[in-house]
């Protein structure tokens, strides 16, 4: 089985990289880009039957830093 973990900075945490991307889009002439948030996607190849609780534990312990990041697990 596969799972996809989406890790994003929490709302309210300033994302300087997203801001830089937003500026770059503006300088390319793309008007109206009001905000960019940059995160990461981690794909996991897992033994069949791995529970969502186990995947959440992986996120809490390593894949995300829950001080600043939130995550969403998508089982594929």
């Amino acid at each position: 089985m596969k799972a996809r973990v989406h890790v994003m900075l929490k709302n309210g945490v300033l994302d300087p990289q997203g801001e830089a991307v937003r500026h770059a889009l503006g300088s390319l002439g793309f008007d109206g880009v009001e905000g960019v948030r940059q995160g990461k996607i981690i794909e996991l190849d897992l033994a069949d039957g791995t529970s969502e609780a186990t995947i959440n534990e992986m996120c809490d312990k390593l894949l995300a830093n829950t001080v600043i990041e939130s995550y969403q697990v998508e089982v594929l």
Binding site: V13, L14, P16, Q17, K61, L62, N65, V67, I68
Partner: protein
């Protein structure tokens, strides 16, 4: 006084840290990240700067899960002293020994220069050789030194006098100009600037000597 310097793949300030501690009179051993225990009788664990595990995933995240870090957390839980500098500070926040997180610098640049710091408290073994309000110059060399913490925790850090150093001119966007913070028991210090790179006239400054002399002196007495 016995100190252990932890070495991860990608550490690059481990030997500087050992030199600074030895010059202050500590008996120093280097400990590889795969070791599961610290040498007997260690008073201080120093987690050096560098780019452990290539900064993969997040700075310090992989190092925080290494076998030696379990021993470091146990050492801190027993009341042992821990100093984390730069990547070492990132490792300490990732282990949860210190609150908050170090994010990408607000200006997105890698900053490498001497910076002026204000010593905010002398109430710790690390800073007792200074007076609160003293200004010192240590170099910084980091891409991810933008300290962030929620408002409640920031209030607790301020209320409990746990901010050890602040920047005189904030280079990285860190909240409340924070450059270094102490744990609740004041025995774990994490800081982005490098005191170990300011201990020899050849470094261009020796403001870091007092930190190591004070620390080694305090722990030798204990």
């Amino acid at each position: 006084m016995r100190a252990a310097v932890i070495v991860f793949p990608g550490s690059n300030c481990d030997r500087d840290m050992a030199v600074a501690l030895k010059a202050a009179g500590a008996d120093v051993s280097m400990v590889w990240h795969k070791d599961a225990s610290l040498p007997d009788g260690v008073d201080l664990v120093a987690i050096p700067g560098g780019f452990s595990f290539g900064d993969y995933l997040r700075c310090g995240a992989i190092a925080a899960q290494s076998p030696i870090c379990k021993a470091v957390v146990a050492h801190a839980d027993r009341g042992g002293y821990v100093l984390g500098v730069c990547n070492g500070f990132q490792v300490l926040t990732e282990t949860g020994l210190l609150p908050g997180a170090l994010m990408r610098n607000a200006n997105l640049k890698f900053i490498c220069k001497p910076v002026e710091l204000k010593v905010e408290t002398s109430d710790s073994a690390f800073t007792e050789a200074y007076k609160a309000g003293d200004h010192v110059v240590y170099p910084v060399a980091h891409h991810d030194g933008n300290y962030t913490v929620d408002d409640t925790t920031l209030g607790a850090l301020q209320g409990d006098d746990r901010i050890a150093f602040t920047y005189a001119a904030n280079p990285n966007g860190s909240v409340a100009d924070i450059a270094g913070v102490l744990s609740e028991n004041r025995r774990v210090l994490g800081m982005m600037p490098h005191p170990e790179r300011a201990v020899d006239a050849g470094h261009g400054g020796t403001d870091g000597q007092a930190l190591f002399r004070g620390l080694v002196g305090q722990l030798a007495k204990a």
